[in-house]
Each structure stands twice: as C-alpha cells, then as structure tokens.
Symmetry: C2
C-alpha cells in the first residue's frame, strides 16, 4: 500500500516552557482545559511563540487538519490503497487508521487530537482509529520499510504531479512537509531517493497532496 507521511508537522501540545504565558492561559481557560492539554496554535499563542526554536514551522494545527482532510476524503483512502502517517516536529508519529472520518469542523478535530496526545490511542469498535507514539522519522521509515521514498519540496527537481504519481508504486512512501514555511531539515531530506517539485508556483501542502494523490488514484483505478 502507498504510504503518505506528513513530515515535521506543525502539531504539538503547548510545550512546558510556554504554559505560563498569558495568551496560553487565557486561551486554555476559554477551552476549559489545562494549558498542558491544548494544541500549540500560532493564531492564539502568537505572543508566546515569539523566538522559540523552529518558530516558523510550529503552531499550525489548522494546516495539518486541512492536509489530512485532503488525504482522508478520497477514493484512494476509502478503497484502502493508502496509509497515512503524521510525523510531528517533536518526533511523534500519529498512525491514522483505515476507516477514520476526521471531523471537518476544526474545533472537533483539535479536541480529538488533544485527546489523542493525552490518551495515546483513540479507539472505536475495538480497532484503533488513531494512535500516537514517540518516534523519529527514521524509525517510522524502518517501520514502513518502503522500496522508494519520494519527497516533495520547492527545493526538488522540477517535475509535475503526474510525473510524481507515475513514480509511485504500492510500496513507495510519499513525504510532504506538514509545516507552513521553511524546508525539510537535513535529517529528513537525506532519506529521500527522489526530491521533486510539482509546480513552478510554490504550492501549499494541502494542494500538493490532493493533486498528487488524485493523479496516483488514476494510475490505480484506471
């Protein structure tokens, strides 16, 4: 089965050192939760996030939400021809089950992911919908053991969604950044067999995901 990894994704709970910041405390009160139990979100915690390590790559759970929706609402996913993983910037990996209806409503998605960070597994009818583990990108690749790893980035060789899709086989792993700005760090990039750029215009991750998976779907179903 094709694997899709959203790598270094901008998805984490508010880290300890920011939990005392006013913006975090007031936002967590609004949500009726503890500051340690809510997602780091640039649109609420902008003040707290100033100057933190990897600042431009962090605190955008909304982007991860949209990217995941692109991958989980298509025939390729419904027909179980793809497995989806979210590797986070702080080296956790979320395993997305094969039958997950992710909430489209953001506040429900955030609530679900916050629960996942605390409880480690979200189950329904005895099977895991979502599971989170401490895991590096390297460890995840070991787990998947794909034949071919293709990273997508504006830094890659000029290609197209169609051409990337043609390179994908059912034992390939497609890697797309789950962060808003910046590039893959070297430890991710060095694992790619191919690094390609799908458009002349820099496209956002959710657009790249929808287009490449759509093109791949054509090769699988036609």
């Amino acid at each position: 089965m094709l694997s899709l990894v959203l790598a270094e994704s901008s998805l984490e709970l508010v880290p300890k050192e920011l939990q005392q910041h006013n913006s975090v405390i007031s936002h967590s009160r609004k949500l009726g939760k503890n500051p340690s139990e809510i997602l780091l979100d640039n649109s609420w915690h902008f003040g707290a996030m100033k100057g933190i390590k990897d600042e431009i790559k962090r605190g955008r759970p909304d982007l991860v939400h949209i990217s995941l929706l692109e991958a989980c609402t298509i025939p390729l996913y419904y027909e179980k021809k793809i497995t989806i993983y979210v590797h986070t910037i702080s080296d956790k990996v979320i395993f997305i089950g094969g039958d997950v209806h992710l909430p489209k409503s953001y506040h429900r998605f955030a609530g679900l992911i916050e629960k996942l960070f605390l409880e480690k597994v979200i189950e329904a009818d005895g099977s895991n919908l979502l599971e989170i583990k401490d895991m590096t990108f390297d460890q995840l690749l070991e787990d998947i053991s794909p034949k071919r790893i293709i990273g997508l980035s504006t830094q890659g060789i000029k290609s197209s969604c169609e051409n990337v899709a043609k390179k994908l086989t059912s034992d390939s792993c497609l890697v797309i950044g789950g962060f808003p700005k910046g590039n893959f760090s070297d430890k991710i990039k060095k694992r790619f067999d191919y690094l390609e750029s799908v458009d002349n215009t820099p496209l956002e991750s959710h657009v790249v995901i929808s287009r490449v998976l759509y093109e791949y779907e054509k090769t699988v179903f036609m």
Copy 2:
C-alpha cells in the same frame, strides 16, 4: 474568466427564530458576541437546528471554508483565471475578490465572514476583498451571464473531472453545491446546461472543486 459558484451554501448567521435557544446563547457568550452576529453551526447549535427548514443543508460553515480554500490557494486563482462566488441557502451572494488570502484557521475565517454579514464589505487598500449582497441564484447568473452553465452532482450524467474540465471555457460557469447533504433544489438545477457526476464514488464538494479546477488549470496553462 471561468466562474465558480458554490450554490445553496451552508453559510448564514443564526436566524432570528433560533437566537433564544440555549445552545446558541451559550456559544455566542463563549465568542463574546451577540447571538445575531454568529454563524449558524451545526456542531454547536445542533439542538437548536432540529427540525428547521432545509435542516440537512444548513449550518456547515466549516465545509464552505474548506471548499473555498481549495479554490483560492491554486495557480488558477493566483493568475486570475477564475472568479469565485458563494451563493447561500438564504439567497445572499458573497463576491470573492481576486487577491484574497482566506484564513486557514477556522475561527479567523468565521470571524471574517461574521464581520462581512454585518458590514457587507471587507476592504483592504481601497479594493473589496469580500462583498455580500442579497441576491438569488438567478440574479447572480444574470450578473455573470455565462455562455455555459455546468452543474456537478451525483445526480448528473456519468463523466470525469477531466471531461468536465474539457467542457469548461473561460466564459463558463461551474456550479457545485456548498451544502453537506441532499441535492440542488429544482430552481438551481433547471438553470444548468449540463449536469454531470465526476466519480462513481460520491465525493465531497471540496474534493470535486480541487480536482476539476486542477484539470481545468492544465488546459489553461499547458
């Protein structure tokens, strides 16, 4: 320029008759707004919405948000080859300007649209980013005066995203439902020159938008 209309979209302020409902009052308090100033949202106002007219088509601003993001974050939009309109279930039309960076964060999007409903226009640097008018679907079509109107629905003739894109010309109007369930009402459907279905699997509006516009983009840019 190609026109895209999200028709009968699930986007409205809480109507007067629901503003006294507990779920609406407590949610509006949480947002620090008046019940008359917030978007109707099934995920908060489920109790209030039970049994209202057209219930299954209403209260899903999250879906409209995702559909709009699909259309506004692609080269076709950046290169001004498409104009986007949101026709709502209560016969208002939102005109989306050509240079709009819609917030990806849902609560910011909701805040922006709530402001639009109250102030009618959102401007920046002297030009309209968003404008809302009382307008029926028929009146909007009169305004656009397209040569060809293509509706997409599971009720349509079996086609594909590629074939729909081939039918589209720069003076066509593409119409997709902006609601979660159900079908276009007859007054919308009777205006279509073509009614097509793009996949064997029923796809959500945001998926159809991203795929058809991507295929159309290929015909425009290649």
